[in-house]
Structures are given as structure tokens and as C-alpha cells.
Symmetry: C2
Subunit: 181 residues, 2 copies
DNA sequence: GCTTGCTATGCAACTCGGTGCATAGCAAGA
DNA sequence: TCTTGCTATGCACCGAGTTGCATAGCAAGC
């Protein structure tokens, strides 16, 4: 129940259309809150109906028209209230951890397959880390010269980087453990 | 779509009733896969219908009867197939990250409230880390003398510990950043 | 001219998980 | 005796999110 709020934050950082939001959710915001375009359009409609947003029709040449959304004062109020509410305990769904414990109940072939899968997963996250580091370099070349909003974006990005580094170390630990069996 | 598999793993580690599973999901397994008892009973019924489990009625004195479930060969086959399937990309829902970026659009009072909330969140995870460390000490006092299943459980636990440590460090970073604004 | 692909928006059906509620046996204490 | 609390199981509803599908404009290449 917080896609609304993720959208509010994203639109406050920069107004945009549903399509643009969907692309942001594939990139920066999507790193910590995923959403498909169908979901985004549905929620945008509700937010618009509730007066959290205003829409502006923008005609484009060479492309279809789009509707750009901006957060209203009412939307800001909603966000402010949510920011003060306690963080909801997140629903943990760590599939890989279940699989690793499940590896105790399979044969050598199964374990070998899991080992390969963990390797693939590791490679994915290695490239994700590289993406984060590139993004940090590109968007925040001088971390001492940032405004308030950028400092907050940067600390969130640092969190992503720290997470990926921790994950890679742990995956190495997992790979060693599986190999030793 | 993997609560089934988490239950298979848990029942292979030790057969048990729906109630017992629910308690495990509050404790060990629940660290990486949450589920309520309602959900567990519903899925157990489906798994039983599909022949992945067999149920045994156990009369108890001083307590209501219970139904203890054991994984069938068919269930093992299902698990083995799932173990070899690629890990599904997890749906990220990191509410705190959204709130932190949202802090750019609130006033001093709002930021102070968020600061307090981050502090509370940090304390929660500090005590969770302590729980993990206690569990590690209790269940794996000598990590050099573990069987295959225990080694896998241990590496998952190490992952939890590494995650919590990383998170605490990052939350300190967040607290510093918020205080400096 | 036809296909492919990107921009742009949206509906409908389904599934999964969460919330609320209900039942029932028995023990322990006020 | 009555209430509280733990063990034990389960139904019904709702909402959020996923999947599949559909439409439409325009550009670029074959």
C-alpha cells in the first residue's frame, strides 16, 4: 500500500507521464520499489481522482501525446503524513535462502545445478553493482557538492551499493559451502 | 508462488503440523519467508490434495489433536524440480528508501520524525542481529562439526547476520545524513 | 508496402497474501 | 466459576500485484 507514495516521491523529484514513471521504475526507483506500467496507470488514475495530482496534456510531434502529472498540495500533505508513519515490517521473500536449505534434500546433480544457478545469480548482482557504481560516478561525481535532495538520493544509492557488496561476499561463501559438500 | 517450497523444505527438515509450521515461520524460516497460519493451512490442504504430503492424526492428552505432515516422494520430486529452476527476480519493496528520498519534500518537523523512526527501525534490527548471533551460538556452537544440512542452515544464517550488520552500518550513515540537513 | 520497434495508454481476469473472524479443547489462576 | 491464554484448525473477504491482451501514432529499415 505504498506505490502511491513511491509515485509521489518520484513526481516531486520530477513531474512526468505514466510512461516515464514506468521507465523510472525500471531504473532508479525500481531498485527499491518495483511496479509495472499497468499498475502505475491504475494508481495514477486513482491518485488523480483523489486530487493528489494534476494532469497536463502535452502534445508531442513525432510521438503520441502524453499526460504529465504534477503533485498537488493535497498530494504533498498525504506524503508528509506517510513519512511520519512507522515503517511497515517488510515481507521477506528470500527464495535463494530456501533453495540453499533445500539443497540438503537433493542429490549431487541437483546440487550441481543449484551451484550453477547461484553462480548465475552472482554474475547478475555483480553487474548490478557495476551499474550502481557507474550511476554514482555519473550522477554524483563530487559528493561534497550536493543539495539536500541529492544527498538523500546519494545515501540511498550507498545503501544499494553496500547491499550488493554484502550479497556478493555472501554468495562466495555459499559457493564455497556448496562446493565442499 | 513458493510458499509450497518453503513448507516442503521445513517439513523435510522435520515433519510437523500446521501449527508447528506457523511457529517455525515466526522463527527460523520466517527470517527469509514469511507466512501467516491461515495461509499455511490453506497451502497445506492443497499440497495434501496434490499428494505432496501425507497427514497423520496425532492424539495428544492435555491438548487438542493435531495433524502431522510428512513429505511424500512426489513432494520431493516437486522440490527437486524447483531447486533446479532459476531464482525468480525478487520484488523489491524497500519502504524506508522511499521515505528517505521523500524526506527532501518535507519540513524540519517531518525530517525530525523520520529521524526518530529510523532510530526505532535501527534498534529493531540491532535486536534482530542479537537474536541471530544467539541462535548461531546456540545451534552451531562448533561450526567445524556440522553435517551437510547444518552447514547449509549455517551459511544461510551467516547471510542473515551479514545483512543485518550491513543494514546497521547503512542506517548509521542515513542517521548522519539526516542530522546534517 | 510491410514489418519491426518504440512511445503511450489502458482494461480484464486471475492469483496470492493479508485481515478479520470463528471454533474448540484444555490448563491455570483469580 | 469465570476469565485468560495457549494449542490447533479453518473459512471468507478484500486488496494489491501480476499476466495477458488491446489500441494507436509514428519512425526506420527491408
Amino acid at each position: 500500500m505504498a506505490l502511491e507514495h513511491a509515485i509521489l516521491v518520484s513526481l516531486l523529484e520530477r513531474p512526468g507521464s505514466g510512461y516515464e514513471l514506468a521507465r523510472r521504475f525500471e531504473r532508479s526507483i525500481g531498485r527499491f520499489w518495483t511496479a509495472t506500467h499497468q499498475q502505475i496507470y491504475r494508481v495514477l488514475k486513482r491518485m488523480d481522482d483523489d486530487g493528489w495530482l494534476t494532469a497536463e496534456e502535452i502534445g508531442q510531434d513525432g510521438r503520441p501525446d502524453k499526460r504529465s502529472f504534477t503533485v498537488t498540495p493535497a498530494g504533498r500533505t498525504v506524503l508528509a503524513a506517510w513519512l511520519q508513519a512507522p515503517v511497515q515490517p517488510e515481507a521477506v521473500r528470500h527464495e535463494l535462502a530456501v533453495k540453499i536449505r533445500g539443497a540438503a534434500f537433493t542429490d549431487d546433480t541437483g546440487r550441481a545445478a543449484l551451484l550453477a544457478e547461484v553462480g548465475r545469480y552472482r554474475a547478475e548482482h555483480e553487474s548490478l553493482l557495476a551499474t550502481y557504481l557507474n550511476g554514482a560516478e555519473r550522477d554524483f561525481p563530487d559528493p561534497t557538492k550536493l543539495d539536500a535532495g541529492q544527498r538523500l538520493q546519494h545515501v540511498v544509492l550507498r545503501g544499494g551499493i553496500a547491499y550488493e557488496r554484502m550479497l556478493l561476499d555472501w554468495l562466495d561463501d555459499v559457493l564455497d559451502t556448496l562446493r565442499d559438500m
